[in-house]
Structures are given as C-alpha cells and as structure tokens.
Amino acid sequence: MKNYLKLVHFEVNRFFKFYLILIGLTALSQLIGAIIISQGYMKNAKQVMAEQQFSMNQYIEKHGTFSFYHFKQSEWFLLPIFLCITVLIIYVFFIWYRDWFGKNTFIYRLLMLPTERITIYFAKLTAIMLLVLGLIAFQIVLILFDKQIVNSVIPIDFQSSFSIYDKNSLEIWSWLYPNTFPDFILIYAVGLLFVAVVFTAILIERSYGFKGILGAILYGLLSLGVFFVPIFLANFYPNYFYPMEIFILELVAFMIVLGSAIWLANHLLKHKIRV
C-alpha cells in the first residue's frame, strides 16, 4: 500500500508542472473570456440604446437579456476544456511510453522496485483518474469566479437567471457533471475502464513488439465488443430485456472487461514484458 501511494505521488509529481500550466491556461482563458464576452454585450447594448434611443426595457425586449449561456457557448470557455481533455488522452499513452523512450529507460528501474509490478499499473491508473477529477473539480470552482466576473460587468437587470446546478444550463456540463452522484460514479467508472484497457493494450504492444500492435488492436476491439454486448442485445431484441436487466448485464460486462484487463496486465508485467 505504501509503495502504491508513493508511486501514485511519483506519477502525479512528474506531471504536476504541466498540470499547473493546463490549469493556468484554463483559468486565464475563461476569466479573460468572461470579461471580454460580458463587456462586449454591454458595449453593444449601450451602442444600440444610444443609436436607437432605446430605454433599457425596450432594449431587453428587443435583444433579450444576457444569459451565462452566451459565455458558455464561446470558444473562451470551451477551448480550454477540450485542450485539457486532449492533453490527458495523450498522457494516457505518454505515462507509459516516456518510461521506455525517455532518458535512461526509466522503466528498467521501475520494474526492479521491490514491489508487485502490477502496483505500477494501478499507480498510473490512479494518477490519471486523479488528474482528470482534479480538473473536473477545478472547473467547478472556476465557473463560480466566471459568474462573479459576469455579475460585476453586467447589471442585474440585463441578466437572465442562471444556476450551475440547473441541468438545462450547460450541455457539456451535463456530460462532465451528470445529474446525480451515482450517475457521476457510473460515467467516470466507464472512463476508468477505458483507460485500463488502453494501458493493457500498451503492455501487449510492449511485450510482443510489432506483433503486439496487432494484438493490442484486437484486444481493444474485443474489450469494446464485450462491453457493448448488452447494448447490442437490447437493440437486437427490443423490449426483451427489462431496463434493470440491461443495467446488470452491463455491470457484468464491465467487471469482465476490467477484470481481464487487470489480469492480463498482471500476467504481462510478470512474465512477458521486455525491458
């Protein structure tokens, strides 16, 4: 356990500087974006009101109030989120390959550590999940600041009501932050499964070289296939399975795919991995 925690910390620490840059970029883009978008709205409002001799009410009647939706649709808000997602997806691969191709083939030292080799796998998996959830948590805090900025620039009369808890407010929000906590666990558990499958596929490639690439692709497709079997069944035999049964089948498929990913990774790390 101690070794595992040390390794998790080691992995987080290796990415931490880059992680801070990602957080900084996101914060910068969203905070500046909140100022630019809300000032843009007010500037336009004042201009239209001056040019057309509109009162505030007339302007609102004609052009509508400012909704936080305006900001959320802008590239200032969305681009950093997509950047973080992309970087973390790339890092899922990089977290392994840097050990092989980085300076001094670091994997050699890792695998020689006096601990079960699968601990390295679990540590890397935990680190990725921690980094993902860290960004998710940071975005919740950040949006409160974004909201403060919008509130300070745009007078209350020009604003539409908005709550970050309102599920209809932000579309991407409902993906990153599902409506209920059990849904949140479900979505991120599926994310964890996909990362685990990619990790095992990487280990297959590392174990068998060029042949391993084909093996890794086949393994990935097979895992996807097993995971989606219940969904295929439900579509193929409409109404045959009751919703709760599909859910249980999906849970079983999840356990099978995750269990076999870990078992295979353990086997490869113990007996096959080529350093």
């Binding site: 620490n13 860290g134 919740i140 209920t180 906590f181 109404n239």
Partner: protein, 397 residues
Amino acid sequence: MKKYWQTILIAVIVVGTIGSYYFLQVAMASNNDVSFKIETISGNKDEIKNLTLQTTYQSGVNHRWLYISKDGSTILNKSSLIGSLKGTNKPIIQKFVDQHRHFMRGKESNLSQYFEDKERLIYTAFQNNGQKEIGDNFLPLQIDILYKKTNDNSFFEIDTPVQSSIDWIKINDVYVAHGKIKILATNYLYNGGEELHIYTVDENKKELEKDAIIAKLTSEEIVNAIRVFNANDTIQNQEYYLYMVEKFGKHKENGEREITSSQIYLYNNVTNEREEWIIPDELKPYRKSMVIHGTNIFIPVYSANGLKLSRYSIEKKQWEEPVMINYERTARDNEIPFLQITDSKLYLVNRMTDGYTLFINELRTGESLYEGKIVNDKKENQNPDYSLNIEQINSNQ
C-alpha cells in the same frame, strides 16, 4: 507528508469540491422541488384514496414529471440514468410486468394491443411494429395468449394479406368473445389514405377469418382523417366503436380548411354492424371532444359557468339528461379543463387562479362525489406562472 503535498492537494480538492457540488445540488433541488397536495373541499375522501394524477409540471425551463396523490406529490427523476431504469410509467403495464414477467418480455407497452379478462391476457402485434416491407403481400399478425391459472402461453402467427399500397398498420383495440379475437386497426397507405379494418381471428383454428374494412379514405390529401373516439388504454371489451371520417376541402380565409364531409359511425362488436350516427347541429362544433364510454356517448361543452356533458344512450337511441358541473371560470380563457371518464366516474381538473380544482362525479346520475383543490405546497419557492398538464388519472393501483 510534506513531500506528498501535490497529490494530497489534488485529492482534497477533488473530494471537497465534487462532494460539495453534489451535496449542494441535492440541497438546492430539494429546496426548489415542486410539491403539490390535494385539499378536500367537499365529498368523500375515499374517492381519492387510490387516485394518482400523472402530470407534467412546467415553469420556465423547469420541466418535471409529477405524480400527485392524496399523500402529496412525487417527482419522477427521468433525467437520472439510474432513475430511468425503474421501468414504465404506465401502471397497468407495470402490473403486467410484475405479475407475468416472462410473458411480457419483448412486448410493446401500448395498452391498445392488450386484452385482459379473469382467465387470460392476450397480446396482439403486427410484426415489425406494423411496418410493411415494400413488395410484401403479407404482414404477420402475432397473437400471444397467457392462461393466467396455469401460467402457460400459446403463441401463433397469422399472415394477414395487405395491399401493396399499405405503409403501416396501427392497432387501436382488441375485442375478444366467443372464440374470436377482433383487432381494430388503422392501415395507413403510401399515398396518404387511411383504412379502418377489423381483423377477425379464429382463436381455435388459429387463422384469419375475416378482414373487414369499416371506413376508407382513398384521397391523396393527407389532411383527411379517420378518427377513432374509443379510449386506447382500455384492456377490456368495448361493445361499440365510435369513429369519424372527415374530408377537407380548400383553405378558408382564416387559414382553416373547409370541411366537405364529416360522417360519424357506430360499429357494434356483437352484431358486427355499422350505422351512421347523426350528431345534433348544436353539438356539431364540439364533435372532436366526443367520448364513448360503454353504451353512452358524451359530448362536453364548456362555458363560463362550467361543464355541460351531453349524454346519448346508444341502446335507448336517445339523449338523456346532461351532467352539469358548475365551477368558476378557468383562469386562462383558451384553456380547456382536463376531462377523463373511467369506471363510470367523471374526473375533471380545472385551472383556477390559485391552483387546480378536481371534480369527481358519478357518471350515471351526475351526482358530485368529491371536490378538491390541488395546491402548491411550497409557494415560496415557486414561480406563480407554472402550469400542470394532467396526462392521465389512474384510479386503481
């Protein structure tokens, strides 16, 4: 510990922020939750003992499915993944699933496709949801009969002849008597026409005995329509079918289409006879709101003072004393109250300025059995401009 500050920091932020986000979400949702109760004004409270009003609540962008009963209201959380796994929100179908789990596998939740009596539960369906493949001359009709006492089922399939012009078939009702299963179905044609069929199946021989067309619209004008007035959520036999064949002409000045012919028919399931039913001139404007219940046809006419429910007895072939329900004017001028006739009772929900009034009246005598008010329980949280849309009243669960 100091050495590990980065990892500890991320872990603390993750647990703290995501935890409080969901904690606050639950807290805010329960604060803002809509909550309704029924306050009795007069009558017997037992009338609402087993009553559930299936409604949708709308206020701005807030849209929720709400079940209101004597114990208050419950929200159906359809937006949650786990919540959506709880199955159908049709109580009768849910009862069938609970009681006959194996039999109900693979079956649609459309009540018009079912028939139930003490001994049997019968399910009928056209293959492929009634969609006909182009060029096919047959569309299999599937019949599945569950014998409740033995829990055995008998499934058979019959090829029904379909013309090349038919696009798809929708089942409106199932009638079962004396070894015959009769299926009232609307056949939609490729060219926009419609036909109303009664397919009679011999239960013992397991073959199609008759395919009778009881209404036909061949015009290519898709605005023409055959309208069936029978309730499509009835699983018991309906002795009569009431339907209207309406043809439309050119657009009038106000944009509506001119009606060139409108004929109403009554089909008797016992004698297999059809006759035209003539509606009195003064009730013609209200014909689209007609309701057939057993051997009576009801036509509701709403006015500022309340509802006048005209009643025609099919067996006596005469108009009977109308049922009157007096209430204050509906809060919104164009809004028609919700009306449902079930189990020989009339249920009416009318919007008032400060809530909704629920009336339950005996259908035969018109006598008031219950009057109550559906009021918002948490007024302080609510936008006064909300609306409740009553979808269905379930009277026994």
